[in-house]
Amino acid sequence: MAREMTGAEIVIKALVDQGVDVIFGYPGGAVLPIYDVLFKQNKLRHVLVRHEQGAVHAAEGYARSTGKPGCVLVTSGPGATNAVTGLTDALMDSIPIVCLTGQVATHLIGNDAFQEADVVGITRPCTKHNYLVKDVNRLAKVMHEAFFVATNGRPGPVVVDIPKDVQFAAGKYAGPDNSGHKTYRPQKKGDQQAIRKAVDIISKAKRPVLYTGGGVINSGPVASKLLREFVKITGIPITSTLMGLGAYPASGKQWLGMLGMHGTYEANNAMHDCDVMINIGARFDDRITGRIDAFSPGSTKIHVDIDASSINKNIMVDLPIIGDCAFVLEEMIRIWKARSIPPDKKARAKWYNQIDEWRARDCLKFKSDKNVIMPQYAVQRLYELTKGKDTYISTEVGQHQMWAAQYYHFEEPNRWMTSGGLGTMGYGLPAAVGIQMAHPKSLVIDIAGEASVLMNMQELSTAIQYRLPIKVFILNNQYMGMVRQWQELLHGGRYSESYTEALPDFVKLAEAYGGVGIRAEKPDELDDAIKEMISVDKPVLFDCVVDRTANCFPMIPSGAAHNEMLLGDEGVKDGVSEEGKILV
């Protein structure tokens, strides 16, 4: 039944009716009416961040670790513009976010009013959709629609811009209904014929490989379960993108490790040499494909994606299937079982022999050192000492992010949050805040770089305020390591502005915020220090002083093919073509 409320009340009521239990935000003039309603209720928890970018990343961490949409509330003008990086990040990684922005009163729009910004204009290219609500009687409908759009089809961020007079005005509220959307109706079930054909192709494959991505995680835990079953019944080896880690367990026998620019030797070679590639919920991103014209030249490619615009965007595929990967996997499993087609055993054994040869290269081995902590070793120890626990990992962006992906192994989906598409330094700490809000009892660790973490360090204050015992594990190499690595490989070792002088003392910094600081400088003190970090029931900054110039390998240099991987510092000199240098 519809009844009269103020716009601000409608907003909060809609959030509650949508099942939102926590919202990340920062107040200001244009959202005061909403904050006033927040004050008078106790169904919805508000987390006061220290910067609006942090609010969106926290909501992303919340969303990725729960599968529910994340919610954000910010004021007009600077509040909204500060949120733009987070929104873009969520768009690139397909994270469902509903972000409410205050706007100046309707009659002031367009007048360059105080703290006015054209928010729908600014956020149009960095949201899945956005709304400016000028009529309070449309507010409830738009709120519910925002959740529908954010979570259905390929998920993404949605902005609802609400002028202040609309927040004060009285209007009608109606609860969510399940009627769907009048124009936005994403296709969920894949085409039956295409699915049958896919099973047919897969059953005849001699050297198949599964290449899965964030779509499997986004689809929900059922998709991961189905993926595991499919891998089991078909016996196909599997690799995944950065975004897809955890959908298939890293301990699984058929697991090849991550693929792409810093992927494993076995994964990338399998991609290159396979005869059938089954892409499920990934998008042939340039970090994955390397040189397009040399990408898996001989394979028949099947691509399952919920977003038709991902099909044939970078790589032409032979068989596209548009649909939610859970639906499609379920069908593929059903058809596979019904047919009970035995794979070509001889060919399969040969394929796995080849894979074992690649595995034997042990591409992730690194030189350890008695006196200096190698960053890879640090992640390895962190993994060993936390793997039995209920752990969630976020990261910043850089070498440490890649080392985390390589040396921390994920058994379950939704345990790994990283900024993949946009590569946003400063993502990990606020994301950890959001994750810990959703999982108060779990161990939440941001594997960080000393440069990235300073970008949103202020959110440590949020963690303190809400008693969120997040652990920030900083691989401190004093360099923007990833930049330094590229300068070494591509720019003749001219380390232009990639060294950070005057870094803060992270231990003191932690203490200044009211948290705990821990430092490890030698390999033999690392384990104890990590154990101490785990046992502390407060936010921790862990300053892990690591080798300054270690490089991240394997690496497919820009402009190279999957089978032209660099495995170590040797052979780097002539690794990058002139053509490759213009690529990022």
Partner: protein
């Protein structure tokens, strides 16, 4: 799989909810992703349903054209995307207003050509004409070129409106 690299011209008709900003979404998509717009027209066509029809003429390789359609389809207020060029030979018309100033023989020639092209005079003084011409873009184009040496002053064109032949709706 390999695909043709030939550049094709397609007329795409997009049925959208006529809400504020919908045109900006469509145009932003084209500019943001580097697609071409050769012509674009938009107007509310179904007032009761508040729906507009956007007609875009665009060029690109078959892969890019496919991308454009998929990207348009993805926009939330879009009802339907129809590639009229693929569906058959659509009817296409454009209207242009063309101002020509001149005297003597040139003026006579302009009027003679206008007659041949079935352009109408909708404004005139002893020194100028404004012609209205309707037709396929090629015809309009041709007429404009012919007017150039005869004292062409300026041109206003509507862009292409397009619809499928036959009795059915698209």
């Amino acid at each position: 799989m390999q695909q043709s690299q030939d550049i094709e011209t397609h007329t795409i008709s997009v049925l959208v909810d006529n809400e504020p900003g919908v045109l900006a979404r469509v145009i932003g998509l084209f500019s943001g992703r580097g697609y071409n717009i050769d012509s674009l027209t938009v107007s509310e066509t179904e007032h009761q349903k508040h729906q507009s029809r956007i007609t875009v003429v665009t060029t690109g390789t078959p892969v890019v054209i496919e991308q454009i359609k998929n990207q348009l389809e993805r926009l939330v207020p879009v009802h339907r995307v129809m590639d009229l060029t693929v569906m058959g030979q659509p009817l296409e018309r454009e209207l242009a207003l063309i101002k020509v100033a001149g005297k003597g023989e040139k003026r006579v020639e302009a009027l003679r050509l206008a007659d041949a092209f079935r352009a109408q005079v909708i404004d005139a003084t002893v020194e100028h004409f404004v012609f209205e011409i309707t037709g396929r873009s090629k015809k309009v184009e041709q007429f404009v070129v012919l007017m150039e040496p005869l004292g062409l002053v300026e041109v206003a064109r509507t862009g292409v409106a397009s619809i499928m032949r036959g009795k059915n709706s698209t």
